[in-house]
């Protein structure tokens, strides 16, 4: 249980002497490179409340793991302040930060039994044996690994090993529990199961969670708040609903939500103080809420990227604002059908609930079929050419 504050946290990997001499510093993906070195995390600010579940999410190399490792004390902090429960811990050793960490690779000690693995941190703290036994048994009970306590990790499956790793972390009752892609090594089914178990676990133990993943589904389902990162910079911080409904920029809108948001080149128009969007010669009326936001930001009429989520597109609508497309691929997902349409020169994805489909097309939708679709002005996202959401 603890509050965690990350204030202007920065991580710079210094250039090597060789690079400095040669005067050339390599670009590592899109990370910023300064005279000091490669900036892996830049000006990270986040106030984490007590018992909050924070998920850091982003593509590979975005700095999410580096940030977590800085909180853990496994990486030096190049700049800024890290506070746990109001105490500055920048230079405090990992063992004195009262944190625990679960690794993607489980990082169990292969020469110890499950019981010894879980007891290891307590033994190092010189906790009395009776208390160690009690805590280990309790944690094993919570995680359903009691029957494996006397086995070695090699005799366990991936999911069981990950439970042991979580067990080793929770026996210590840490202030902050850090998880670095804990489910990435598991297969899809087990991942779903373990995800649900982490949600349950969270209800049973009183601690602050910081969870790193590249999987947006995990981020959406687990996090109280999500931090979306790219190239070492925070893109947006918000609840799953907020980042889904109001993505701050094009990157966030594309990263959150499966399948990805559809984008069209369109024009934002303003007449008599009222904003409209023109797409393919058709006018889309915007909701009052959006109007107000755009007006508040004093947004000028301009070329925009219009974003629309696949689940917000309706088929078979009526009216003059209909768009037409040809079905490329129809993917039956069970509860819904994902349609890939060729329309407005783009590959447009539409999610149609199977229930809706049955009433109209009993045979399903075939490739090559012509189809009409539409969407409302209340669900579109308007991004400027600088990729920022104009409503922000």
């Amino acid at each position: 249980m603890a509050e965690v504050s990350l204030r202007h946290i920065k991580k710079i990997y210094p250039n090597t002497e060789k690079q400095k001499k040669k005067g050339d510093v390599h670009r590592v993906s899109h990370l910023k490179v300064t005279a000091e070195g490669v900036v892996a995390v830049d000006d990270f600010n986040l106030e984490i409340a007590d018992r909050e579940f924070i998920v850091l999410v982003g593509p590979s190399g975005c700095g999410k793991s580096t940030t977590l490792r800085m909180v853990a004390g496994l990486e030096d902090i190049s700049g800024g302040e890290l506070l746990i429960d109001g105490k500055l811990v920048n230079d405090v050793a990992p063992k004195d930060r009262d944190i625990a960490m679960v690794f993607q690779s489980y990082a169990l000690y292969p020469h110890m039994t499950v019981r010894e693995n879980m007891a290891f941190p307590l033994k190092l703290k010189k906790v009395p044996q009776a208390e160690i036994d009690k805590k280990v048994n309790e944690a094993a009970e919570i995680l359903g690994i009691t029957e494996y306590l006397d086995r070695k990790p090699k005799a366990l499956s991936g999911g069981q090993r990950q439970r042991v790793a979580i067990g080793r972390a929770i026996v210590r009752e840490p202030k902050v529990l850090l998880m670095d892609e804990p489910l990435s090594n598991l297969d899809a089914k087990l991942r779903n199961q373990m995800r649900a178990e982490i949600i349950k676990l969270r209800q049973r133990i009183n601690t602050t969670f910081i969870y790193v993943t590249h999987d947006q589904t995990e981020a959406m389902t687990l996090g109280d708040r999500i931090v979306i990162m790219r190239d070492g910079e925070v893109q947006q911080i918000g609840t799953p609903q907020e980042v889904f409904d109001h993505p701050a920029n094009l990157f966030v809108s594309g990263f959150i939500g499966v399948p990805q948001m559809n984008y069209f080149d369109a024009k934002l128009l303003k007449a008599d103080g009222k904003y409209t969007v023109e797409l393919d010669g058709k006018t889309i009326e915007l909701s009052a809420e959006k109007q107000a936001r755009l007006a508040a930001n004093d947004v000028e009429p301009q070329d925009i990227t219009l974003g629309i989520r696949p689940e917000h597109i309706a088929l078979f609508g009526e009216g003059s604002e209909m768009f037409h497309g040809t079905v490329d691929v129809s993917e039956m997902m069970g509860s819904s059908v994902h349609l890939h349409l060729q329309s407005l020169g783009k590959d447009v994805i539409v999610i149609v609930p199977t229930m809706d489909l049955q009433g109209i097309h009993h045979d399903g939708i075939k490739a090559g079929q012509e189809i009409a679709f539409t969407f409302g002005g209340n669900v579109v996202h308007i991004f400027g050419k600088d990729e920022k959401n104009l409503e922000f």
């Binding site: 625990a100 690779s105 000690y109 020469h111 703290k125």
Partner: protein, 299 residues
């Protein structure tokens, strides 16, 4: 053999020609190892000057081998040497390997430097080191050949210098295979550097420790050329019965000296000693392997 299998045998060129590749190795192994080994065991029960005139005499050679004071001395001397060198070489090699895997600058250069002595032959090393030791000891008006403790520690220094680099490479490979995540987990779990080393790192490099202790033990027992070149067993102790014991003579050198001794029947005794020596080294090696293997962990 059914038709299918037969067809497979002739279709698969690797199988068809395997004898061509295996043959020379098998022949060399049989001619160079298996046959001399069997003949050696037979000869240990014979009296002979030449192999052709070997005469079976039963256990006589073994009786005289066990009665030989020089052999007993060489055995205890070798055992002591093997234990001391085993411990020193392994501790030092592991320490150097551990330091060189801690992200030290120019660690590759150090690895090469530490490994290089291993490339020099034992006889050459023996003569070089005898010059070095005598150079130093001459300041104290003595020589490595005059006191057996100098001979002992001289040989220990020599084998350490020669073998640490080799063992270090094995330990480095083992240490590099220890997962970084596991060490970080230990760090977070609250282990100090020493606790991490003894409770996490060392149990996970047991396969390397097994190999290195096996090599150290057998190398220690089998040492010959360094022993011959450095002291050749000197100094002597003259026994009341007029015979002399070479105080720094190890088992292999003792067997060699016995074989080329001019007295009649000594070849058979040397042969018996060689068989005892083989049983000893093989037995010790297997015992040690069985012991350390149990401590190895699988990931």
């Amino acid at each position: 053999m059914d038709g299918k299998k037969k067809a497979g045998f002739f279709k698969n060129p690797l199988r068809r020609w395997s004898w061509l590749f295996m043959g020379p190795v098998c022949a060399a192994f049989a001619i160079g190892f298996v046959w001399p080994f069997i003949q050696g065991i037979y000869l240990s029960f014979c009296k002979f000057k030449l192999i052709r005139d070997a005469k079976f005499i039963g256990f006589g050679n073994y009786v005289s081998a066990f009665a030989d004071e020089t052999f007993k001395h060489a055995f205890w001397y070798t055992a002591l040497f093997a234990i001391v060198s085993l411990v020193l070489i392994n501790v030092l090699a592991f320490t150097i390997a551990y330091l060189l895997t801690q992200g030290l600058k120019r660690s590759n250069l150090y690895r090469t430097v530490f490994f290089m002595p291993n490339l020099i032959g034992g006889i050459v090393l023996g003569y070089i080191w005898s010059m070095i030791f005598d150079g130093i000891l001459s300041h104290f008006n003595t020589s490595i050949l005059l006191e057996s403790k100098y001979g002992f520690w001289g040989l220990i220094i020599l084998v350490c210098w020669q073998q640490i680099g080799y063992m270090m490479i094995i330990y480095i490979a083992g240490l590099q295979a220890v997962s970084e995540d596991m060490l970080e987990a230990a760090k977070i779990d609250g282990a100090t550097k020493m606790q991490t080393l003894f409770k996490v790192t060392i149990p996970n490099v047991m396969p390397s420790i097994t190999i290195c202790t096996f090599l150290g033990l057998t190398n220690g027992f089998k040492l010959f050329d360094q022993n011959l070149a450095l002291t050749a067993g000197q100094p002597f102790i003259i026994q009341p019965d007029g015979s002399n014991i070479k105080t720094t003579e190890m088992l292999a050198l003792n067997i060699y000296n016995t074989f080329y001794n001019s007295s009649s029947g000594s070849q058979g005794t040397a042969q018996a000693k060689a068989v005892i020596f083989f049983i000893l080294v093989a037995g010790l090696g297997l015992l040690q392997l069985a012991y350390t293997r149990k401590r190895e962990v699988q990931q």
